[in-house]
Point group: C2
Chain length 272, copies 2
DNA sequence: TGGTATTGTTCGGCTAGACCGAACGGAGTT
DNA sequence: AACTCCGTTCGGTCTAGCCGAACAATACCA
């Protein structure tokens, strides 16, 4: 049997539009969208959008909000996420550890799984503070400007890193974003030697992240944990301390999923 | 503007199939389904199913699992659920209270929102024990055989209850299920007088649930909390005690969302 | 190792069904 | 009361989804 098609050759128009519509609704404000608004964002006719919404509504993926029909995501999406959580094996074992990490540091912690060199955040535990970081779950993030992403990249072969760098082009989002491959590789080497990655305002100004990867049974990185907070909150020398705490929790996660602990260089796991 | 269409008149075939496929994948085992298996359950041709899967995969709603391509739900569903949680206003305020309820009782607690007389469970906090109850989130449950459902029904007008009874037919699932309207109404009256509902092996043999509704700003029931455990674990006289604990937490939820506290009969809230 | 059964992927034709534009009817506004 | 805007309905057009069948690759078994 031939390998799966890489391009979007078999992409069905109607279904694609429905899924895009769901994403649009997900990113909409809490009180939903009207048909007209949704149609505008979807770039489809009002009647088409209406049909899509009615179909999604029949399956409870979308709810009608009176008055003046405004459409929001419906409870059926919870069913999917709930089922997904059951299928991702370590979701449930890893969550308490993430909670412990947030308790230990007071910062928002997040868990990402490793998806072909990219991090996909699958869980978030908000810290006790009043500030919240807008961090959507379930989307493939760019690896070069997040601590979890760099932690994962650090465990991968250089060729994979180069391929990803070529693919994404390392786009900049702040003045501190690493945008050239040489610096990225150097930073990844640093990650490997100390056991954790640091995102120092590389994705958002004023925001600091510290992350560490954990390996699966086969030695390849299974995912990463990271904590996020305001850079102003911690002096530089404390970052290393936080790194060790994150590293320790990542090790716990590795242990919990029956994977391998991180080992210091030069014997660090670097298998593809 | 005319009211929304009640029937599935505008249901699009392709989108419907995609959504049904997602549901099928959600109910599948942890290691996913092959194209052939999915096609069989979907009752569509293999090529059609393949196209649907490819489209869903392009949007990360479905992941390909090597070897021997098996398809599972992808991380994009988390994005939807995460967004949904933000749009349901009280999701975040109510969750800690549910956690407290589980801590106080040691039982699994669940939160349902009220959707036209039916409960839709939107959150679950598992107890510390090793047994887990299979309780999918995000689906409309039948109200007559769950404590959360009965707690909600008890706050509604008798005409609504009769309409739902006629609609669903009160199907039986155990020997203790209430299957006639008269008994149901009597039980609902009991719920109102004591402030909580009991599901005594009415949905699953050996399983006991205790639930209580909480009202929204307008006085109508906004949702309900319930706890679930093994009937063998508690003597009969303790059920009432549990009921009061659940009742207290439901009141906290009402308070947290700015709604109305439950009041004892005869002034109990019974608005539509 | 070779043969067979099964599964995943591709392709092309047919027609069902998705898409759009336009019209209808409430609701809110000035 | 007239106007405007929005949600819903409807029918025609033609695209694009659906299927069946062929192909390729793997798994199973002897």
């Amino acid at each position: 049997m031939t390998r799966a098609p890489q391009d979007g050759r078999y992409r069905l128009q109607g279904v694609s539009r429905a899924l895009r519509l769901l994403d649009i609704l997900a990113d909409a404000s809490a009180d939903g969208l009207s048909v007209t608004e949704a149609a505008a964002q979807l770039e489809a006719s009002k009647s088409t959008t209406f049909g899509l919404l009615q179909t999604l509504m029949a399956f409870n993926y979308v709810t009608d909000q009176t008055p003046g029909p405004r459409y929001r995501l419906g409870p059926a999406v919870l069913h999917l996420a709930d089922a997904h959580t059951r299928t991702v094996p370590f979701m449930e074992t890893v969550r308490p550890i993430a909670r412990a990490l947030t308790e230990a540091t007071g910062w928002t912690s997040r868990v990402a799984i490793h998806d072909g060199g990219y991090p996909v955040f699958i869980d978030r535990v908000d810290g006790p503070g009043t500030i919240r970081f807008y961090t959507p779950l379930g989307v493939r993030e760019l690896p070069h400007r997040s601590s979890a992403g760099k932690a994962i990249l650090a465990e991968l072969d250089e060729s994979v890193v180069l391929a990803i760098a070529a693919e994404t082009g390392l786009p900049r989002s702040t003045a501190h974003t690493i945008t050239d491959v040489t610096s990225l590789l150097a930073d990844l080497a640093l990650c490997r030697s100390r056991g954790f990655a640091v995102d120092d305002e590389e994705d958002d100004d004023g925001v600091l992240c510290v992350g560490a990867a954990f390996g699966g049974r086969d030695g390849a990185p299974a995912g990463a944990v990271s904590i996020t907070g305001l850079k102003a909150e911690v002096p530089d020398w404390k970052v290393h301390e936080l790194g060790l705490v994150v590293r320790a929790h990542a090790d716990q996660m590795a242990l919990a999923i029956g994977g391998q602990r991180w080992r210091a260089e030069p014997s660090a796991v670097r298998s593809k």
